[in-house]
């Protein structure tokens, strides 16, 4: 069962990456999707990241009770956990719900109303036209969102730390700049790229093969979100194991 679906998924991807009929039409779609996925998710990701950063800082401070440890360590821990795990993963899980479900319901409703058949009749590569722009937008915009999320998690930490009095701004900034390793950002970007690909391609796959009507479109989009989330966590583990 799993292998049947996985094979079908790979075949769909093969069709997605066929040479586009006309780049300028695809280009227009890519810009549209980048706007939809990237700009459309800015606010949500910004709010979540800031709060998670703030809460993380207070929680780390709560656990570090020893006087032997300088409070700047709080900044360091927040920085590394935001970059390496929290920002990429939380952003991806949230977007799997937001972006993923909208992709699968959009493509799914085009399937059940025969719009995909209409594309095919015209001789247009429907997977390419419908899915490629979304995947390209996903693998470019989600890394951008993750970078923004990391930045805001650190800012949130600064705010949370100083408002609660857990760590002074000077110590916190000391902490986040001290012993910073650029490689961790590379790991975050690789994760974001992989997650972006998973979210867009898995939910497009679930939508593309819907059979039935409005009810099935809804079910497919729910299932798309679940499968994306699980795949994201598995990929997270694999990338971490390979890169750290």
């Amino acid at each position: 069962m799993f292998f049947t679906y996985f094979g079908q998924y790979l075949l769909l991807l093969k069709a997605v990456f066929r040479r586009p009929e006309k780049w300028n039409i695809y280009w227009k779609e890519i810009i549209h999707e980048m706007n939809e996925i990237g700009v459309g998710s800015l606010g949500l990701i910004a709010i979540i990241s800031t709060f998670v950063g703030a809460v993380m800082t207070m929680q780390i401070a709560f656990q570090l009770v020893s006087d032997l440890i300088p409070t700047s360590v709080i900044g360091q821990i927040n920085r590394d956990s935001s970059i390496l795990e929290l920002s990429p993963t939380i952003t991806a899980l949230v977007l799997a719900g937001k972006v993923g479900s909208s992709i699968s319901s959009q493509i799914g409703s085009m399937r059940v109303t025969e719009q995909i058949d209409a594309l095919e009749i015209m001789g247009i590569n429907a997977p390419g036209y419908l899915i490629l722009p979304k995947i390209l937008a996903g693998i470019t915009m989600i890394p951008v969102l993750v970078i923004m999320s990391i930045f805001l998690a650190l800012v949130g930490g600064l705010a949370g730390g100083s408002l609660s009095g857990a760590v002074t701004p000077a110590d916190y900034i000391n902490g986040i700049t001290d012993g910073f390793i650029g490689y961790t950002v590379a790991v975050a970007l690789v994760k974001a790229f992989v997650f972006g690909f998973i979210i867009t391609s898995v939910s497009a796959f679930k939508g593309f093969y819907v059979r039935g009507g409005a009810l099935e479109v809804g079910q497919a989009s729910t299932r798309g979100v679940v499968i994306s989330c699980i795949s994201i966590l598995v990929a997270d583990y694999i990338v971490t194991a390979l890169m750290l």
Partner: protein, 250 residues
């Protein structure tokens, strides 16, 4: 010329088409008629390659379309125009964008030429000036007509129309029949129309294929259909008392 040879198609246990043979000639209008659920739309979809039949072939000018892969089908696909039973307009695009979409993908026309073409197609279906509406803002009959406008935007050589005048008033229905007939003459296209409408059958049916129980039960022209003694066909065509009375007058 499209040749359909021994097409079988099932959905699970439901054996819908049980060996259909038919020839559809260029410059002529061929009608597929039959009761609701008799497999008319399914046959049409097998012909354009949306359904893969379990058995049999569809030949376009002698070339086996059923065995072609995506790439080799493209040249034929560009010559196909199709109206779906439920119109299948792209609902994120306006009427005009729907019509010029195939041109954007495959032609090198300038922006103005494309818009001129869209206006021309809209005029042909009596919808001039409705360019900027979205499909959600159209009535069912208007969607059908936009669907036809989209189907003819590339000047097709093969025109497939699934119930063009269901949901239209009698006057517009006749207008659409006339349009289909004019286009068939103009482009000398092979036109296949699925219909329930007896006016169309009598008016434009150069060749009529009657589907019953998944088989080709009868074929002939609109001249012959009035005089047939095939019982199932008579029951279908002359179902209403009005049509029965009309037949007796013949």
């Amino acid at each position: 010329m499209i040749e359909v040879q021994n097409i079988h198609k099932s959905f699970g246990d439901n054996h819908v088409l049980r060996g259909i043979d038919a020839n559809f000639e260029p410059g002529k209008i061929s009608l597929i008629i039959g009761g609701s659920g008799s497999g008319k739309s399914t046959l049409l979809k097998c012909m354009v390659g949306l359904h893969a039949p379990e058995q049999g072939k569809v030949l376009y000018n002698g070339e086996d379309f059923t065995r072609m892969d995506f790439e080799t089908r493209i040249p034929i696909r560009k010559e196909i125009g199709m109206l779906f039973q439920n119109s299948a307009l792209f609902d994120s695009m306006t009427v005009e964008q729907n019509i010029i979409f195939p041109l954007e993908m495959f032609s090198d026309m300038s922006r103005n030429e494309k818009i001129d073409r869209a206006n021309y197609c809209l005029e042909r279906v009596n919808l001039a000036g409705r360019n900027k509406l979205y499909p959600a803002e159209l009535s069912g009959g208007m969607k059908k007509r936009v669907g036809i406008a989209r189907a003819i935007s590339m000047s097709p050589k093969y025109l497939f129309v699934d119930e063009p005048n269901s949901g239209l008033d009698p006057e517009t229905a006749i207008l659409i029949d006339e349009l289909i007939s004019e286009l068939t003459d103009e482009y000398q296209c092979t036109t296949v129309v699925v219909t329930h409408d007896m006016n169309s059958v009598m008016g434009i049916g150069d060749y009529i294929l009657f589907l019953y129980k998944g088989q080709k039960w009868w074929e002939g022209s609109n001249k012959e259909i009035a005089h047939t003694d095939v019982e199932e066909l008579n029951n279908f065509v002359f179902a209403s008392p009005f049509m029965k009375a009309a037949k007796e007058r013949f």
